[in-house]
């Protein structure tokens, strides 16, 4: 064989690319755009590279798995690459901290990708989501079913050539509505007057719902001694008082003991990402409010940070402080709310929750004052916040953070932490070791309650969090009680940050940097920004092709990915405990299903 043919069959390994010395041929290129860098990975070497990164380079947290369909991409950076899809992985290190390693695996249509679940079990739900919305099959995935839509749904909605029933145009503002304001009722175009589409040749009379294999149906059988007991499958939800919304837990139980538990979601799938691709960049801001609807301010912040990376805007000093103040106020809202509802799930119906959310109304008054809305604040903008604080706002906030909130948190601590029932139901229940939690991509208070001091505000500071003096509380137990108590401790740290921020905030100044305006075209490229939302790592992955609309808009939601741990945490406990275990993960369904 001549030298030339050898090069043709096995391309030379470019040793200037990272990691190629350890895993030869794994990294085939670098996507150098104006923003963050990404590495292209050969699909057959993906697992070897992931294993290397996990074991040797300490990248132990597979934060985000998502996909981009580049078939309609207009940018220059993508020219000459024939593959249609890119599966995008973001890896972080809980030991080293710092920024991500971003991997792209290029996939042609109808090809498979090796599943990362054997290296990072936390890829489970995210790969199912990619399969559901893009139709990419992951080889070796233990349970590749649809997750957000239902089994039998036609097509894969986030493919660029898939159009919804109410499809008008590729991008907003639609011609029918702007500038004249005329409006077509798209219901009228469909004979059944609804936003449903059916494939041609489909006969509704002969329709049979597909029978799907759900793992709980084949759970291991545990007989107690000679007594041959039969395990049964019990379905909690989607309408169930314990599930915090529309969520379903399929459990296999022996008596009251859980043998296997499988979360079923998608009952609140509101197509954030498809709608987000049609919207202009700014139009997505109010939609982020509705992700985790208990803390809209944190969601706003994460999205603003991601787009600011593309736009390269400087945020004014006063706006930085306002952002931190708002984000920390929502953290207190969220943590007190979640404490109240953990107690609700423990059976202390309503009374502790009423105490816990009492201060929330005071904070919501402050939000309403600056933004005009209690819940859906829509307050942040790219380059700052939409309007300045109202006169006297800071004094009212100071009264709250110096006087009322510390007292309210002390009161909760006093009433609940020493409570015999809370201890008996919480201690040692829902235990999962820290390594397992990280392997399952869990983030937020859950891993800090397992003794890992991983908080994005410290390990990869954003905004101005590096200026404040605060601690990352950790507890070693990793059980329900620790997850309850860590939230109390974190709320106290938030009060500390708020006191400093309200002391140091500049009295006057700009609150909105950049050029402003409703429409702008960010540079071509992709950006991932993450914030420590109250529920964990909230990441926004945006891809721009220099248009007024995002090419791809993906939300890495903590609630969704933390649900990876629900099954492993619940096995072996009673069904009444599973309810609290779910409550202590603290999910919001708007964010789970998006």
């Amino acid at each position: 064989m001549t030298e030339a043919t050898m090069v043709a069959t096995a391309p030379a390994v470019d040793s200037s690319l990272p990691y190629n010395d350890a895993v030869p041929g794994a990294v085939v290129g670098e996507w150098a755009t104006d923003t963050d860098k990404a590495l292209f990975v050969a699909p057959d070497k993906l697992l070897a590279l992931l294993t290397h990164l996990r074991d040797k380079e300490q990248y132990d947290l597979l934060s985000s798995v998502t996909c981009v369909d580049y078939s309609a991409y207009k940018g220059k950076a993508r020219a000459g690459i024939p593959e249609r899809f890119d599966v995008v992985y973001h890896l972080y290190s809980t030991k080293k901290g710092g920024g991500p390693v971003r991997l792209h695996v290029r996939v042609p249509d109808d090809e498979t990708v090796p599943s990362a679940t054997s290296v990072y079990p936390g890829a489970n739900l995210q790969e199912r989501e990619v399969y559901d919305l893009f139709g990419i099959k992951f080889e070796g995935h233990p349970n590749l079913r649809r997750v957000l839509t239902w089994e039998g749904f036609h097509g894969h909605p986030l493919r660029k050539d898939w159009k919804e029933a109410y499809y008008e145009e590729e991008a907003k503002p639609f011609k029918s509505r702007h500038p004249t304001g005329g409006y077509h009722w798209h219901e009228d175009k469909l004979p059944w007057g609804d936003n449903n589409t059916y494939p041609a040749g489909w006969d509704p009379d002969s329709w049979q719902e597909p029978v799907t294999y759900v793992p709980v149906s084949q759970a291991p059988h545990h007989g107690f001694g000679e007594l041959d007991t039969q395990s049964i499958v019990i379905n909690l939800g989607p309408h169930h008082p314990s599930t915090h919304g529309v969520f379903r837990m399929l459990t296999r139980m022996e008596g009251e003991t859980i043998l296997a538990l499988e979360p079923e979601m998608g009952y609140l799938h509101r197509n954030h990402e498809k709608i987000g691709e049609r919207n202009t960049w700014l139009m997505n801001m109010p939609f982020t409010d509705r992700l985790d609807y208990i803390n809209s301010m944190s969601n706003n912040l994460g999205y603003a940070l991601a787009v600011e990376k593309l736009l390269n805007i400087e945020v004014p000093e006063r706006a930085q402080y306002i952002r931190v103040i708002m984000a920390e106020l929502t953290r207190i809202i969220n943590h007190t709310w979640s404490i109240g509802f953990i107690l609700n799930d423990l059976g202390a119906l309503q009374t502790p929750a009423l105490y816990a959310i009492e201060e929330r109304e005071m904070i919501l008054d402050l939000f309403e004052e600056v933004s005009g809305a209690r819940l859906m604040c829509n307050y942040m903008r790219f380059g700052g916040v939409v309007r300045d604080l109202t006169p006297g706002w800071e004094e009212r906030a100071k009264y709250l953070v110096h006087d009322r909130l510390p007292r309210a948190l002390d009161q909760l601590d006093e009433l609940l932490s020493g409570n015999e029932i809370v201890k008996a139901r919480g201690r040692g229940v829902g235990y999962l070791p820290a390594e397992d939690l990280i392997a399952l991509s869990v983030s937020g208070p859950m891993i800090r309650a397992a003794g890992i001091p991983y908080d994005i505000r410290k390990v990869e500071p954003y905004c101005i969090y590096d200026r404040f003096d605060f601690d990352i509380p950790t507890l070693p137990e990793s059980d329900i009680y620790a997850r309850y108590y860590i939230r109390l401790l974190e709320a106290r740290e938030s009060v500390k940050i708020l006191q400093q921020a309200l002391r140091d905030i500049p009295k006057k100044g700009e609150v909105l940097g950049g050029k402003g305006g409703y429409t702008f075209r960010p540079v071509e490229g992709e950006a991932y920004a993450r914030v420590e939302a109250p529920k964990g790592e909230l990441g926004y992955f945006v891809v721009s092709d220099n248009k007024a609309n995002p090419y791809r808009y993906h939300v890495r939601s903590p609630s969704f990915i933390n649900l990876n741990a629900l099954g492993p945490m619940s096995v072996g406990y009673k069904v009444a405990d599973a309810v609290v275990i779910l409550g202590a993960i603290d999910i919001v369904l708007g964010e789970v299903d998006r």
Binding site: A200, L268, K274
Partner: protein, 260 residues
């Protein structure tokens, strides 16, 4: 300039709404401290509206405001409504609080069918009313009233607790106007269950099977792929044979439910 007096609906129904009928029915003087004369409707409606139990049923963001309404500051207990029942059998009012998705609609219709009459539905927020900001989404239903009847719509995204309370008071007004002689749940025969939608390639209402078939199996469907065509097609009434089939299915369902 002529002035026309504004006649409110409540004024037209004054007869029914009047507190006591003392002017017409004479109560002897010595009994007036103990005897009160009113209509049966008035007592019946007053008792129903004063203890209307909502279903503990949160769908999305609006559920948070619904909880806030029930909590300390807004205190839904003032209206006798703080007892939220998770079981549809024990509740009178379904507050559809949030975005209704296609995956969830079969469950909602089942829950509605399970509620005992008299039952009311309050559509809370823009999403439950008409799809709201997510209307264009592919798994979002453009309003719960496509499937179940709604009594009161509360606008807002999300409605503030004040708005929800206003909507609930409007519902109370509606209850007060009902008469025991005309309410549907005392009529002969069982009330009809709403057919549960089915999740196919997309969700479909069993009542609309014929229209869907014409589109997907007919020439129009084959040409256009079942998606939105250029012609503005109007919704058509349900054909008789489809109606007959639905009635047959309902009769079968009822026969199954009959106790042995």
């Amino acid at each position: 300039m002529t002035t026309t007096p504004v006649v409110k609906f409540s004024e037209l129904k004054q007869e029914q709404l009047s507190e006591f009928l003392h002017d017409r029915i004479q109560v002897p003087e010595d009994l007036q401290a103990n005897v009160m004369v009113t209509t049966l409707d008035k007592v019946y409606n007053w008792s129903r509206k004063s203890s209307m139990w909502p279903l503990l049923f949160g769908l999305a963001c609006c559920a948070i405001e619904m909880i806030a309404t029930a909590a300390s500051r807004y205190d839904l207990a003032r209206f006798g409504m703080e007892v939220m029942r998770p079981s549809p059998r024990q509740s009178d009012l379904m507050i559809v609080s949030g975005t209704v998705t296609k995956k969830m609609v079969p469950a909602i219709v089942r829950i509605y069918n399970q509620m005992a009459e008299p039952r009311y539905v309050l559509s809370m927020g823009a999403c439950a009313t008409g799809g709201g900001p997510f209307k264009e989404g592919y798994t979002v239903v453009s309003g719960i009233d496509k499937y179940i009847p709604v009594d009161v719509y509360v606008p807002g995204c999300p409605p503030t607790p004040e708005a929800l309370i206003y909507g609930l008071l409007k519902l109370h007004e509606k209850v007060e106007r009902q008469s025991i002689t005309t309410v549907p749940w005392y009529r002969k025969g069982a009330s009809e269950a709403i057919p549960v939608p089915v999740l196919g390639p997309d969700i479909f209402d069993p009542r609309k099977v014929q229209i869907i078939k014409e589109q997907t199996l007919g020439s129009a469907g084959a040409a256009k792929g079942g998606a939105a065509g250029k012609a503005r097609l109007q919704p058509q009434p349900i054909p008789e044979d489809v109606k007959a089939r639905i009635h047959a299915a309902q009769a079968k369902y009822r026969a199954q439910k009959q106790p042995a």
